[in-house]
């Protein structure tokens, strides 16, 4: 019910704009519906369904903007929300960084919507969770997981003629499977736009395998090790770095992208030569909307080429101040890799540690982007190209900047966490202490 078509959304937005008396008006109309099941101890613990739609108006006089919002869509309500936004704008302080509205833009159609996912029912969710529970129960293990699907539409229109619409679906699944003794734990997570790609049975079997395989972990000394990061582990640690590709904080001198003496590290060789990072909303494996909240088209953008920083994100305001074109932050980040599988990377490793995922990553020093966190749900010792035995979890203290200077090999990228991320082989990764956690 809350998912409007492009035409339905456009009609409501046009009507709202027609009521505006402000210098500039922008209106967004968004809705979503979806549901979820959460399970633990091999049984459903909570489940729910939410269906919502709302409309927001930003009215601007000069550089003073007011916002109001509503979830009723009759003509009287729409008129009321516009006049309320206009009243608030008159009371608002001037925003010296206010940017005039963009005019009409063209946005390519995104690939974010899938009908199979949009029509998921509570019974489909229950059936999928049933399969995951089946894997755990058959192996006498305990499962705790979460399955969620959502369909949403986002649309905006402004008084200068800009209109954008996007419809998307998502289904996400994660499960932690533990043995009954609490001595082994495994985990998987995956999300897709298209339900038919989601194989909860296969994913649950991977988690179950890790739960069994990680039991009876041995302690080895913390220190510097060659690590093989599964794509999820690599994604956990790198998502912190992507947010730092911001021109403003770099120019201001308060980012790892700032240069000593002033300026930014744009154009510098900051990473190993084999590191290439770009974003692309049309990536078929990881599509995103083709426009962002500023009404700017998202395009394929190169962030790092052969280890050199090629672009930083500029907001419209900062771009104007610096006399450059705005560059929106990337979604659908892709780290290029090779053709090797995770198994291939393990085979080529004389001594090393395989990391399933990281947990509780926090910034320790924003100056160097030093992060701390822990391994979780399956950490293994590798010798002579084989997994030898499970090891106890480690705390790490490492910077992704240092890590991407120590890249020995990159495998084939897969959709995970924040992007298309390859499994990575990294030398001299710093583990600082042991954890008893399982």
């Amino acid at each position: 019910m809350a998912i409007l078509s492009k035409e339905e959304a456009q009609a409501i937005l046009k009507k709202v704009i027609s009521y505006s008396k402000a210098d500039a008006c922008e209106v967004s109309l968004n809705g979503s519906n979806g549901g979820n099941i959460r399970y633990a101890r091999n049984a459903v613990s909570t489940a729910g369904q939410v269906d919502v739609m709302s409309l927001s108006v930003n009215s601007t006089f000069g550089k003073k903007t007011g916002s109001a919002s509503i979830n009723e869509f009759d003509d009287a309500s729409l008129k009321k929300v516009v006049s309320r936004a206009e009243e608030l704008a008159q009371l608002a302080p001037e925003n010296p960084e206010y940017m005039p509205l963009l005019g009409a833009q063209t946005f390519p159609e995104s690939k974010t919507y899938n009908e199979n996912t949009a029509t998921m029912s509570p019974d489909t969710r229950a059936e999928m969770v049933g399969k995951s529970l089946g894997v755990a129960k058959a192996a006498n293990l305990d499962a705790a997981g979460f399955l969620e699907n959502s369909t949403r539409f986002n649309s905006v229109m402004n008084s200068k003629g800009l209109f954008a619409y996007n419809k998307s679906t998502n289904v996400s699944f994660s499960v932690t499977i533990r043995n009954k003794e609490g001595t082994g734990s495994g985990y998987v997570e995956q999300d897709f736009n298209d339900l038919s790609k989601m194989d909860v049975l296969a994913l649950s079997k991977i988690a179950a395998g890790k739960a069994t395989g990680s039991a009876g972990a041995k302690a080895i000394e913390p220190g510097k090790y060659t690590v093989i990061l599964e794509p999820l582990a690599a994604s956990d640690i790198l998502s912190n770095m992507f947010r730092g590709f911001d021109a403003r904080s770099a120019d201001e001198g308060r980012s790892f992208m700032s240069k000593k003496g002033g300026g930014t590290r744009l154009g510098e060789q900051l990473f190993s030569e084999n590191v290439n990072i770009y974003s692309d909303p049309m990536n078929p494996e990881l599509p995103s909307a083709t426009w962002n909240g500023d009404g700017i088209a998202l395009k394929k953008t190169e962030w790092v080429k052969n280890g050199v920083v090629k672009n930083l994100a500029y907001s419209r305001y900062w771009a104007e101040k610096k006399g450059v074109e705005p560059i929106p932050f990337g979604r659908s980040m892709v780290i290029e890799g090779g053709t090797q599988s995770l198994q291939d990377l393990i085979k080529s490793t004389e001594k090393g540690i395989l990391v399933t995922r990281f947990w509780y990553i926090r910034s320790v020093d924003p100056q160097t982007l030093l992060l701390t966190g822990l391994t979780r749900d399956g950490t293994f010792y590798i010798e002579n190209g084989e997994i030898k035995f499970p090891i106890k979890n480690f705390r790490f203290n490492e910077s992704p900047i240092i890590m991407l200077n120590n890249v020995e090999a990159l495998g084939k990228p897969v959709r995970t966490g924040s992007g298309m991320i390859p499994p990575m082989k990294i030398k001299d990764f710093t583990f600082s202490s042991l954890s008893d956690a399982i």
Partner: protein, 544 residues
Amino acid sequence: MKRKDFLYLSGIGASALLLPDFGAFANPIDPLQALEKIDVKIKKELADVALNAAKAKGASYTDVRIGRYLNQFVSTRDKRVQGVANTESFGVGIRVIANGCWGFAATNTVTKESIAKTAEQAVAVAKANAKIQGEAVQLAPQKGFGEVSWKTPLEINAFEVPIKEKVDLLMNVNDIAIQNGANFVNAALFAVNEQKYFASTDGSYIDQDIHRIYPTFGVTVIDRASGKFKTQSALSSPMGMGYEYMNARPEDKVAGVITRYKNRYDILGDVKEATRVAKEKITAKSVEAGKYDLVLDPSHLWLTIHESVGHPTELDRVLGYEANYAGTSFLTLDKWQSKNFKFGSDKVNILADKTQVGSLGAVGYDDEGVKCKEWNLIKDGVLVNYQTIRDQAHIIGLKESQGCCYAQGWNDVQFQRMPNVSLESGKAKLSVDEMIKDVEKGIYIIGDGSYSIDQQRYNFQFGGQLYYEIKDGKIAGMLNDVAYQSNTQEFWNSCSAICDESDYRLGGSFNDGKGQPGQSSAVSHGSSTTRFNGVNVINTARKI
């Protein structure tokens, strides 16, 4: 993550982009609208529609929460107002048990028809899940309270204070920082008002009016020549009180290397001192890694208590309900059953409560209609209890819930959330100066910083805002690059002294995350300055 995407996409305008994470469907409103109240009679009528509709479809238990959640957020950066947001989120969440299984549905169309339909959806969800359910839900009995109400004790409702007054105050904060040599400063003020109406088939109709406030800032100082930048955050605490928190009295100020605050806060005084110490950090010496006695100020220790005591004593974590996200707990049931698990030294007594005046956790009743109270988690160093809710109380042999159920909004299902968890002050008279006098080689840490802990809450690493070296009983100067690592049980057993109650202060988390889909809650942690002997300190400096 998805919710943030949604907010990001939904807000083409700058003001919407600046909205913090207020909940998925918070709508901007006129500040004056925030003062309008909904008649309790109407809420009762609507609640009865849900209770009856769910019962008619076969629910054996139903609770309904009609929630109006107001947020006000004023943010400034340097010399400009970055955003003023007033949001309201209003809707109805209905939770049922049908065929022995939970179901939940929510709507923001608050009409009798929509509420009845939503109640039916909740029953349908419960019945679909009952097909794959194992054991039936067991609810601890709860008597109905009839029609009752509760309100946060406050002197000044923050929503009644004009926005202009708040903007002027924050701009003043920024001016002081810049005048004193800061390169950048952000100052913000958050106010929250939860107007929650709860009704259940147990016969409770509970109307509550809950207020929280959080002023904060961050100062940044940059040394272009060396390329270094340093920051200092406000030493305020989020509190469960009104705007009176912003009016500091002399008795609320704790003197020392930097002023700290008790039940009222002086934001203008704090930002001046913050700028001074941020500048000092540029040239402070880097710590030598090793073992140190740590003297931890309450403005720092609250977070260590939160992570290493608050979370592992959550019964749902112990049982595995959070295994797929936050994790489980090392405080397994056998340790509690043994009645002699030494969590900490004899000096360590830790209380859970949902009643302390001014705290973030204080409410009259929780989100499943249980009256709030206080109990011990750790007594003389021994683990004696957990925190729990109605459907898990029977597992630890309790006949009633401890009242720890909370949902961040009407559209989120309620579950176990942490009450206030606080360290009791030392019984013997002991000041901070007296405590420091006994330390040969130590570090005095003030303010919360970087924090990370494993999924069973054994291994942690904490940083802070300010570090002072203690040499032979005296403060010897500021340090940089400090973080301490320990194991929870080892750390609390190294607790060697706790200052008396004259030093007791609350710290807290305004946004503590838990659950899937993720939910935020607010919780306080009180303590007096406390010493821990021989803790491992690492040096966090790196070159890139």
